[in-house]
């Protein structure tokens, strides 16, 4: 059997929970990851011992909070190999990060003559902000198509990029798990003068992320999908691009000087962080990143690949089960269907076995339509999942088929 990372399971109290009188088998990590003790303790310690607003007070608690908040920013910069911590903007989540780019960059630089190129594989959060903006500005939105195996069709990339000012694409699909060749695509996009925004929501828990090696201009991800708390996300952007962008929200913190007539803005990242930020959550995300780097993202990625192959093999061996997407480069989200059983029924039935999976369109309806599967079930693993949990899923699927009286051909 593979060498797994089960020793880290003890750091996750929730993995001891019982669901429907069965031990929880949490396979919904693409929706949100679980939180290790250091993250929980960081939140607790912050509120118990140094809760104060950042960048404002001159008293000891505020200085403590500010220095922890800024330390978290530096940890995140190192985690994604950003050249400067000032390029790391705290947001609420990936969705807000993408909306920030749409509003603060797109509204300023896109015109009705421009094209935004997205992919059919995008989560709704990387489609809808652009549609909303397009309704105001009138630019065209174009989509790279997805092939039946769940990979992007890049055969016509040069032509697709013609006239494109921004390419927005996901690093890893939240449905079929495909890892997109970002560096290769970004290099072509830059030759066409396009900016490249990467949705990293499904990447940061699974693989090392190096924004410089990827060659993108913006990278967005969520704290809660990276073992951190909800309510905190990140947008990384190249400093010179961030500098020329408009502010996002107006308020305190993002200003240099305010008179009744006019305001001058602070430099990045503060320019984009109006109002009191999610201080505890940012600091706790820093703790999550310490935790992940303590294990080692390369080690996590290596185990991820083993567990993914195991899951594909085991799930694929169940008669009637069809795994969507067979990309050679894939991460640990597996959308699948079971012949004759609706995904919602499947999910409810698995829940009676204590197994948490997601069912539905996974906020990626265009991809479902392209693959001809409007709804599916999705199991998604993290490094703290073990092969026995995949076995339990497979056993439960057999049980479910019995309940439904589905007889394998």
């Amino acid at each position: 059997m593979m060498r797994d990372l089960r020793e880290y399971r003890r750091d996750f109290p929730i993995l001891q929970v019982q669901v429907n009188d069965k031990p929880l088998i949490y396979l919904d990590n693409a929706a949100t990851s679980q939180k290790p003790l250091p993250v929980l303790e960081t939140l607790d310690t912050y509120y118990r011992t140094y809760n104060a607003n950042v960048h404002r007070g001159l008293h000891a608690l505020s200085e403590h909070a500010t220095s922890a908040y800024e330390a978290a920013r530096r940890k995140i910069a190192a985690f994604i190999n950003a050249p400067k911590p000032q390029e790391v903007i705290f947001t609420r989540n990936t969705t807000e990060s993408i909306n920030l780019v749409a509003q603060a960059w797109g509204r300023k630089f896109l015109t009705s003559d421009d094209v935004v190129l997205l992919t059919e594989m995008e989560h709704h959060s990387n489609i809808v902000p652009w549609q909303l903006l397009s309704m105001q500005i009138g630019f065209q939105i174009r989509y790279l198509t997805v092939r039946p195996d769940g990979t992007l069709d890049l055969s016509d990339l040069d032509r697709m990029l013609d006239g494109v000012k921004l390419l927005g694409l996901t690093h890893i699909s939240n449905v079929v798990g495909t890892i997109n060749p970002i560096a290769q695509i970004a290099a072509v996009a830059h030759r066409h003068g396009a900016r490249v925004l990467v949705d990293g929501a499904q990447a940061t828990l699974h693989i090392p992320v190096d924004v410089q090696a990827l060659g993108c201009d913006f990278y967005a991800f969520s704290g809660h999908k990276t073992c951190g708390p909800t309510g905190i996300g990140v947008l990384w952007g190249k400093y010179d691009i961030l500098e020329e962008m408009d502010p996002f929200l107006g308020g305190g913190e993002m200003i240099e000087s305010v008179t009744l007539e006019k305001t001058t803005y602070a430099a990045p990242p503060n320019k984009f962080e109006a109002g009191t930020p999610a201080i505890a959550e940012a600091i706790a995300l820093g703790a999550a990143i310490d935790y992940l780097t303590g294990i080692g993202m390369a080690r996590i990625a290596e185990y991820d690949e083993l567990l993914s192959s195991y899951a594909v093999e085991r799930l694929g061996s169940v008669p009637g089960v069809r795994i969507l997407g067979t990309a050679p480069q894939r991460s640990s989200a597996f959308a699948f269907t079971v012949e004759g059983i609706h995904p919602h029924d499947l999910s409810s039935l698995l829940d009676t076995h204590g197994i948490a999976v997601r069912a539905g369109h996974h906020c990626a309806q265009p991809l479902g339509r392209r693959l001809g599967v409007p709804a599916s079930a999705r199991a998604s693993t993290a490094f703290y999942n073990v092969p026995e949990e995949i076995d339990a899923l497979v056993d439960a699927l057999q049980e479910v088929k019995k309940v439904f009286g589905y007889v394998s051909p």
């Binding site: 429907n20 059983i341 609706h342 995904p343 919602h344 029924d345 409810s348 039935l349 009676t352 076995h353 069912a359 539905g360 369109h361 309806q365 479902g368 409007p374 709804a375 049980e399 479910v400 309940v403 439904f404 009286g405």
Partner: protein, 142 residues
């Protein structure tokens, strides 16, 4: 809750062999609905004659719970007057929302959905056909 509590045999029977399934060509009213959380669809057709439901059919893509609910619903409303259909709709709503625990004879099969009432996300599945029926009643009332 066990799998068998949730998916009682009656539900599975209706899901496997839905009654009144398919398109109704000469319908006097038709409505289409989607469950936004899963993309499921339902088309409901009614043929009204002399103020009564002479024919009712449904088709679409749905889970076992919504298919069974639609199937049972069509059986319950066939032959009923529009007023009676409205009363059944209200009755179903108060049962599935947990306001009422007892079911009248016409809807007694819906007892099978008792377990679902504890799962708000799945209540939507069972309710979808009834919401579509309410749309139709609304259309006809206009």
């Amino acid at each position: 809750m066990s799998a068998r509590d949730l998916y009682q045999e009656l539900i599975l029977d209706h899901a496997r062999n839905p009654q009144n399934f398919g398109e109704l060509e000469h319908a006097s009213a038709h409505s289409h609905r989607e469950n936004i959380s899963c993309g499921d669809t339902i088309d409901l057709y009614l043929l009204i004659e002399d103020g009564r439901v002479a024919e009712v059919r449904f088709d679409g893509q749905g889970c076992a719970l919504s298919t069974a609910s639609a199937s049972m619903m069509t059986e319950a409303i066939k032959g009923k007057s529009l007023d009676e259909v409205q009363q059944l709709t209200n009755h179903f709503r108060s049962y599935i929302s947990g306001e009422a625990d007892d079911l009248d004879a016409e809807l007694e099969d819906f007892e099978a959905f008792q377990g679902v009432r504890q799962l708000p996300a799945r209540v939507k599945c069972v309710t979808l056909p009834w919401v579509t029926l309410a749309d139709l009643l609304g259309q006809m009332g206009e």
